[in-house]
Subunit: 115 residues, 4 copies
């Protein structure tokens, strides 16, 4: 994860050079996370399956930028809250394997508590 | 980014073992991204600055899991759309350095188009 | 709009009886609005067109409650900010008629600035 | 609620004149609801209490338009799903009175299941 650490440091340096830490309380960081996720979603609004596929082909860079914005806030928020989000994800995957055992969950989009 | 690649592969393997690719169209992936970001935000709802800080101390693991869920969808969506989201983030950071020059943006939370 | 006014008053009375005005700053009201809208959306996640239709039939009451929650925050936020949201909607409709002239917008889900 | 009914009819007529019903499946309606709620929230991002108050004074019309957009989708979605959202809200208020009894909930922003 050295490259990820280097990237996080870049994000923090960018922020600190602008003296923006003062605005980055957890509530507003979370608001930013939601707003950027909403911008990803907006790309697909009103489009049917075929339109979505065609749209992605010609707008991959824009969508990539929006996804990068979400990743930006995930990384910065995790940094500020002193959370190792990659390790948290590894643990979550293990948890999900128990919540969604293959034999029960295969081919179903049912939530674990209704399986 | 070898470790990230390995993690993405784990996520994809988890999904494919459950035959869930059929549900993972971009629109629903984006909906998932927003829903998980909203769950992060819910942790801070109604709390003032002091309450937020105290809450984080005793709920770090829960918040970490929610952030991991957001990261999960960022990574899976990027994988499915064939987007290198880390490289997109590097590019975005360069772009942001031009949009928010230090001398103009320092200490202000103004959007770039109003600086 | 007398009945709406009466409903808004009921919401405000409910709030004031619990001394909750102190928590209802505009930022947290807006967060609540988003969280409730997300709960509406969650009902449709992962479902295809047929599943959505079937789901609505058997879950109309739940969906109605979530939509009511969104309406709740729209009405309370408008009250607190001294905004006549119904009159704002009337104005918006007029504006939209100009932004989306029938001859241009008919049968298209294109945003007004790309029509 | 005659005036509300008239307003809903106006919204439906606006939609039908543009032949947009074809795009208005529940999933995309819910996405629209979330996106407009997010636009309300964006107005308050990064601002502290004092800045929020000052901002509202000079931007009341813009905020009103965004709240109107949320109300628009609440009304249209309720119409399409054949849900009486005002009556649902009346019922929800009664439910909330039981979930949040005054003596227990007064002055606390705790969720009902943790009261």
């Amino acid at each position: 994860m050295d490259e990820v650490k280097r990237l996080v440091q870049k994000i923090v340096d960018f922020r600190d050079a602008r003296d923006w830490k003062q605005f980055h309380n957890p509530k507003d960081l979370a608001i930013s996370l939601v707003l950027e996720a909403a911008e990803v979603m907006e790309h697909f609004q009103w489009k049917n399956k075929e339109e979505v596929e065609k749209y992605i082909e010609t707008n991959k860079q824009d969508i990539g930028e929006e996804l990068a914005d979400v990743l930006y806030w995930v990384l910065l928020m995790s940094h500020d809250l002193n959370i190792d989000v990659f390790s948290a994800l590894e643990k979550k995957l293990k948890k999900n394997e128990e919540k969604y055992p293959v034999e029960k969950a295969k081919g179903k989009h049912t939530k674990y508590n209704q399986l």
